[in-house]
């Protein structure tokens, strides 16, 4: 508890957390790309912020959608947020006027809440996205290894990672697919379960098909074939994705093999007819086949949807699924916010406990100082006080101080209600002028 708390004997522990940054909501991409911190720059910035005495602990979180500085300002630095803003703009050599309105800043509980919301994916462009949690873990681990964090940021970032995990495990905020490609793959999982050992055939080589292949690969799909009118294109994609290229003429031959069929042939209309798919299912001995039709116009004949054990989803169907999922995710926001509030309360309790312990010490110091002044002043006016009596007076006044402090100590450390405890700490600081005394 060295840095953010108190420099030995100098006033009460006051835990401050400050945040400054910009994200996809406040800054256009042209500005965000100029405000990106590479991992090396992130460490360099954290070092500089600490060396200049602006912050005592620092973590930089930089992704394609946000650049944020989290820090714990020193006790003697009331204008830390202002200095962080100056640092942010000068570090990236962006004129301050240009960043005007794009940077946001928060302090105290608001900054912590912001970080928790980021970890939960509530502040992401795509609500509940999972990547941010990994990025946050990466940024924190790097700062931790580098030594730019301290007890406060450690506490907050570990809390944020826990919030992120809990929100994803206990709510639907991050559970349902939000992209057409992922929705197609997730739906296939609803038919086949684990995709390991299953096979897929990609007909065409569109951009979305490539995303589907990536998701399939991530799920350990057993075998992957790519068919395209241009064999070269098929070969390039197959090589890139670790699959096998098949000639267009062999399409019907290989149609009966895959469990998942992704059609993404541009501008041609129905490439796969009901008859072809019927044969394919027969060749599979009736085993189900999941077909994702990403083509516009559609690549799979409309009447094929009625085939037994064929599950057909076209681009509009998948779009509709994504839309449903978006609404479902949004409806889960209050539950995610409740989890965030729970963890924020935990942090505040920790903060209050630390501050309470410290303020009692400071009050004691404050009383002792005054006691000595009063004793010295008053005893100098009385001539005939023996050394024994002086010691006795010192003991009595010390006991008096301890008795006076007993009740507030109990109330501050074990009292019910976080708000009440925090308010008590603030009131003591104000009433006894502890901060002024320190300054």
């Amino acid at each position: 508890m060295k840095s953010q708390t108190k420099s030995a004997g100098q006033g009460a522990v006051r835990i401050h957390v400050a945040l400054i940054g910009c994200n996809h909501r406040t800054a256009p991409v042209e500005l965000r790309e100029r405000a990106v911190f590479t991992p090396e720059q992130a460490l360099c910035a954290a070092d500089e912020l600490r060396e200049r005495g602006i912050l005592e602990e620092a973590v930089v979180l930089s992704t394609c959608n946000r650049s944020e500085l989290y820090g714990v300002p020193g006790e003697a630095n009331p204008s830390a947020a202002e200095e962080m803003e100056d640092f942010f703009t000068s570090f990236h050599k962006i004129p301050r006027a240009e960043m005007h309105g794009s940077l946001y800043r928060s302090i105290g509980a608001d900054a912590v809440r912001h970080l928790f919301r980021v970890a939960a994916g509530l502040d992401s462009m795509m609500l509940g996205e999972a990547e941010i949690l990994g990025q946050l873990r990466g940024a924190y681990s790097q700062a931790l290894d580098h030594g730019s964090t301290g007890p406060v940021l450690n506490r907050i970032f570990q809390g944020a990672l826990e919030v992120g995990k809990r929100v994803r495990a206990e709510t639907e905020v991050g559970s349902r697919p939000m992209s057409v490609a992922l929705a197609g793959v997730k739906l296939a999982e609803r038919v086949f379960g684990n995709l390991k050992g299953h096979s897929a055939l990609i007909v065409g080589a569109g951009a979305v098909a490539e995303q589907v292949i990536e998701h399939l690969r991530n799920r350990g799909i057993g075998s992957l074939r790519v068919v395209n009118r241009s064999y070269e294109h098929a070969a390039v994609l197959a090589r890139k994705m670790g699959g096998e290229a098949v000639k267009w003429e062999s399409l019907e031959e290989v149609l009966g093999m895959p469990d998942i069929l992704v059609a993404s042939v541009g501008g041609t209309g129905a490439v796969l007819t009901r008859r072809m798919l019927d044969r394919a299912i027969a060749a599979r001995h009736g085993r189900p086949v999941f077909v994702v039709d990403l083509g516009v116009p559609r690549n799979v004949a409309d009447d094929a949807a009625g085939l037994y054990n064929l599950y057909l989803y076209n681009i509009d169907d998948l779009g509709e699924v994504v839309e449903q999922n978006k609404k479902a995710r949004e409806s889960e926001i209050p539950r995610a916010e409740a989890l965030i509030a729970e963890h924020l309360a935990k942090f505040e309790t920790w903060r209050a406990a630390l501050e309470a312990a410290s303020i009692v010490d400071d009050l004691r110091e404050h009383f002792h100082k005054h006691r000595e002044l009063v004793i010295r002043e008053k005893l100098s006016e009385i001539k005939d006080v023996s050394p024994e009596e002086r010691v006795r007076i010192a003991h009595i006044t010390e006991e008096l101080i301890e008795r006076v402090l007993e009740n507030p100590t109990q109330k501050l450390q074990h009292g019910r209600g976080l708000r009440g405890r925090l308010a008590g700490i603030e009131a003591l600081r104000h009433l006894f002028g502890l901060d002024e005394e320190k300054d």
Binding site: E170, E172, G193, G286, P288
Partner: protein, 271 residues
């Protein structure tokens, strides 16, 4: 005492249902474990309830509809728990525990038979015969529930109305495998149970009552489920059709278990 144990096991099944239902909407590892734990607790308490009754009637408590249904519910719980552990799949638990709760609540409406079983209906052989057959019925009931979920899931997938539970249900393939596992358990228990019944009957009377409606319908059930297992791997029946067949087979099981036992059979009536 037995009444209290029965009520307590019902309460645990109810609590287990609430936990399973909760994880359908919001997955939570510990809540899932709690659901399984509560179910296991319910099964354990129901075991002691059955034990208490079996001491009173001097055999496994199957000698009236109440005892038989109670034994059925207990075996259904055990079979499900085994399948849940084997397939590592909890999302069916809500349906199963709901069935258990309704089933056991209905038991409360039935009179408890207090008469001990007659001497021929005692002994290990007879007890195993009835217990195994009841277990088979319980396993078929489980396959029935799984098949219904399969059909619902298939319908949702085709209609593209994918609500929250859709994403929590097991995949069609998993449901199919679970239903088949359950039918395998049921068939194994039924074949063994029938064989033990035949041995017991031969020892008792020196012959076999092939004409008894219960024997006939049990053989029909055997054939129906073997047909299901075969057809569920054929090109034209695989999938939803096989699930429908499995669900319909259970209607025959229910008929055998209730109507046949109560009104038709001579040797398999409740006492």
């Amino acid at each position: 005492m037995a009444h209290h144990l029965g009520a307590l096991s019902l309460a645990l099944y109810g609590a287990s249902f609430l936990c399973y239902a909760r994880i359908l909407y919001s997955p939570h590892l510990w809540l899932g474990r709690l659901a399984s734990g509560l179910l296991a607790g319910g099964i354990l308490l129901q075991y002691f309830d059955l034990l208490e009754r079996s001491r009173w009637v001097h055999t496994v408590p199957y000698n009236d509809l109440y005892g038989s249904m109670s034994l059925f519910a207990w075996l259904l719980g055990i079979t499900y728990l085994g399948l849940e552990i084997f397939h590592r799949q909890r999302s069916v638990g809500a349906f199963l525990t709901l069935l258990l709760v309704i089933w056991i609540a209905l038991l409360g409406l039935l009179p408890r038979g207090d008469r001990p079983a007659p001497p021929p209906a005692r002994g290990a052989l007879f007890a195993f015969h009835v217990t195994l057959n009841t277990w088979a019925y319980a396993a078929f009931a489980l396959s029935f529930v799984l098949s219904l979920i399969y059909l619902a899931q298939d319908r949702l997938l085709r209609s593209r109305r994918l609500g929250s539970p859709f994403w929590r249900f097991p995949a069609l393939d998993v449901l199919d495998r679970m239903a088949r596992s359950s039918v395998y358990v049921g068939l194994g228990a039924l074949i063994l149970g029938v064989a033990l019944g035949l041995i017991w009957e031969h020892r008792l009377s020196g012959g076999y009552s092939w004409g008894d409606p219960k024997v006939i319908i049990t053989l029909a059930i055997l054939v129906a489920y073997i047909a299901y297992l075969r057809l569920s791997r054929s090109a034209t029946w695989r999938g939803a059709r096989a699930a429908l067949l499995c669900a319909l087979n259970f209607v025959v099981v229910l008929f055998s278990y209730t109507i046949v036992n109560l009104y038709f059979t001579k040797f398999h009536r409740y006492f």
